[in-house]
Amino acid sequence: MSATNPKDVPLQVDILCDKLRRRQVFGSYNVAMETIKLIRTVVSNSKWSSATKIINTIKDTSKKLSAAQPIELAIKNITGRVLHLIRQEYELKYPNEHEYQGDPVLYRYLGGDKQSKLDQNCYNLKSNIIEGIKEIIDELESSSHNISSQALEHIHSNEIILTIGKSETVFTFLKEAARSRKFQVIVCETAPFFNGHEMAKLLAIEGIETTLITDSAIFAIMSRVNKVILGAHAVTGNGGLVAITGSQPVALAAKFTGTPVVVCAGLYKLSLKYPYDTDEFYMPMNPDSAINFENGDLIEKVDVVNPYFDFVSPDLVSLFITNV
């Protein structure tokens, strides 16, 4: 295998696209990190002389990445952050470039800024942008730490907490709380992917009193639960969640018994995408995990619906905990 040149920008973009397509890079945190590192490569290694050019390059890159894996909303989020950063840096250098003093977004939309005045020569812009990107990376890395530092405000002693699936954020959140408080956690096993099993094992190793239950027992158990803590893959424009499958029954059962639902999500998961059609978030997986090929004669006659994600509507969530 030929050595990949890290400075070869189009190649790096293609490599990441492939990884996304094959789901070798999966999960909003991993995707966000890889995206921002790629953008850093693009910024530092591609030739650009004006802010417009680099903005367009980054936009193209992000389009390619999103097309590879549309469910990864984190790509667009991170891109948006970087573009905003670039425009900010430019404003700092060349303030008051345009006559329109009001809302620059509206101005740009109305066509005022199309042939962007971001054409001024920028020597230090590159280094400023790289610095800004580094800050974004730092924020990403510390997001779950920042979220977990708020754990003690939300988890009290002798609470019974329900969670589903395996979320790094929720795990650090609970671990942090367990250092000073005693509480119990009930984990739903999230068949057929069984992320819940991993989560239960990890929590038990930390010494937290954990109980593993099947997804079918969610309603039965809910009357004893004090709080539901969910992780999210992404948060949509109206506040709805894209979370692991099974989250919707959990959130609904919580609404039924009046249990508060708390979502731990880093800011990089917040997306502008408005969920007009919730079906596009489900990401159907292969039916093997639901019915395997041992029942070959069944599979050819039966439709199997096996989504990986669920959409939870915003009225079911009580609280978002983020790293800001």
């Binding site: 057929p192 069984f194 009193e209 079918s216 039965a220 059962a253 006659k301 199997v304």
Partner: protein, 481 residues
């Protein structure tokens, strides 16, 4: 009278002794008379209570007064002043160590309590998987084999277990010989009680089975004492057959007939796990030529929905298969939900396979009617508010089996079958979870769906709302008397 040198701290007993010693003979006699009179009074009141109790139990002998036949403690009759404290059945008081000891003494079969009981359910029995070497002298061999079938989940489902049990009871009654010096009526009930204890130890009785047992016991008790054994047995066989015919076979036909009137062309019907009645409904609807499709929702670890799926596919009905996590995706296409039940309670709650409540909740959210098909013999006069009051806690190791094979492929067979070994590093192994102190695994078999999530209930006397269970039971009771 000897003088006792008393220290400053005397025990009550010695105090009393001294008191009686100080009283004169006459006073002592008075005290004795008073105590004797009190004792007699207490005795009288006790016998009165006993008589009242007996009368009450006789009246309600054939009724549905008590679901639980394993009540080991009589209602307390401490004294006339304290009212009768109604204690929950012994099965629901496992967190009381005295109760546990008491049960252990009276049990026909000794079982090992589970290694790591789940705290939320510490009031319920949690046993390890039963050992198969329990050869009791008093238990009939076909009962032992039936118990094994129950505990290995070879026979599942309210109707199936009830029919299997009745068939075995016929054999048991056939082989039964009244011991000399006793009558069939008295002794057979006791003998059957031992068999039932064994079955309970294999797996907790379903509401359908309890109903059948109650009926059988009442039939035995009203047998005429002059009837020769052979005739009595014949009568019992007939009664048992009638029970199945009336309460299961014909009832199911009625239910199918009534549910069919609600199924139309273009329907998308969701069902959960596997119910014999619902399968019959679907097959009848298909035979009538109605164009509909079925979505089978399944739940771990039993995965009984796969069995239903096989049968539906064999019939030719277009099906979709999902696990309960995908309910949010499919529910918007569903036009109605039809499920079976294990029992229906007096407050209108439905006890069914775990996961039915999740389906009911989702159906409610999407405003899809939720129909329960249940025969009247599964109705119970007990009130259950949630799934914690009583539940069957299964083997925790079942959850660790991540292969999604259906029950029929898990049956013990002579020929070793190929099992796909998923060696997933994150999978929890059996040894691991027992060593991890903080990790508990809960495997609930049943759950209780609250009545307001149930749109209607179809039983053989018609379509009723689930809250009308009490009325139906009262009617049946009046009919019997």
């Amino acid at each position: 009278m000897s003088e006792q040198i008393n220290g400053p701290h005397q025990s009550n007993k010695s105090k009393k002794k001294i008191q009686t010693q100080n009283m004169t003979k006459a006073e002592r006699r008075e005290l004795q008379e008073k105590q004797r009179a009190e004792k007699n009074q207490k005795k009288q009141e006790n016998t009165q209570l006993n008589l009242a109790q007996q009368k009450k139990t006789q009246q309600l002998a054939s009724s549905v007064s008590s679901l639980d036949l394993n009540r080991t403690s009589q209602p307390n009759q401490l004294s006339a002043s304290t009212p009768n404290i109604r204690k929950p059945p012994a099965q629901m008081r496992q967190d009381d160590p005295k109760m546990v000891k008491k049960i252990e003494k009276t049990q026909t079969v000794q079982r090992i309590p589970v290694q790591k009981p789940v705290a939320l359910f510490s009031h319920l029995t949690q046993y390890e998987k039963p050992q198969s070497n329990l050869a009791q002298d008093i238990v009939h061999p076909s009962i032992i084999s039936l118990g094994l079938k129950f505990s290995e989940f070879v026979i599942v489902g309210g109707n199936a277990r009830c029919i299997a049990m009745i068939d075995v009871f016929k054999k048991v009654i056939h082989d039964y010989v009244t011991p000399p010096g006793s009558s069939l009526i008295r002794h057979l009930t006791m003998y059957l009680g031992k068999q039932i204890d064994y079955l309970t130890s294999a797996r907790v009785l379903a509401a359908s089975m309890k109903s059948a047992i109650r009926h059988l016991k009442s039939e035995i008790s009203i047998l005429s004492i002059d009837l020769p054994d052979i005739d009595a047995k014949e009568k019992l066989y007939d009664e048992l057959d009638n029970f199945i015919l009336k309460n299961i076979t014909i009832a199911d036909q009625y239910i199918v007939h009534q549910t069919l009137q609600n199924i139309h062309d273009g329907d998308v019907i969701l069902t959960h796990a596997r119910s014999s009645v619902v399968l019959a409904v679907f097959q009848a609807a298909y035979d009538m030529g109605i164009k509909f499709r079925v979505i089978v929702c399944d739940s771990r670890p039993k995965l009984e929905g796969k069995e239903l799926l096989k049968r539906l596919v064999a019939t030719g009905i277009p099906c979709t298969y999902i696990l309960s996590n995908a309910l949010g995706v499919v529910m918007k296409e569903v036009t109605k939900v039809i499920v079976g039940a294990s029992a229906l309670f007096s407050n209108g709650a439905v006890m069914s396979r775990a996961g039915t409540a999740v389906v009911a909740m989702m159906a409610n959210e999407f405003q899809v009617p939720f129909i329960v098909c249940c025969e009247t013999y599964k109705f119970s006069d007990v009130v259950r508010l949630d799934s914690f009051v009583w539940n069957e806690i299964g083997d925790s190791d079942e959850l660790l089996d991540l292969t999604n094979s259906e029950p029929s492929s898990k049956l013990p067979s002579v020929v070793p079958t190929l099992t796909n070994m998923q060696s997933n590093a994150s999978m929890i192994r059996r040894s691991e979870w027992r060593n991890l102190d903080s990790l508990g695994i809960l495997n609930l078999h049943y759950d209780v769906t609250p009545s307001h999530l149930v749109t209607m209930c179809v039983c053989e006397i018609g379509i009723i709302s689930s809250t009308s269970v009490v009325t139906v039971l009262r009617d049946l009771l009046e009919k019997k008397e």
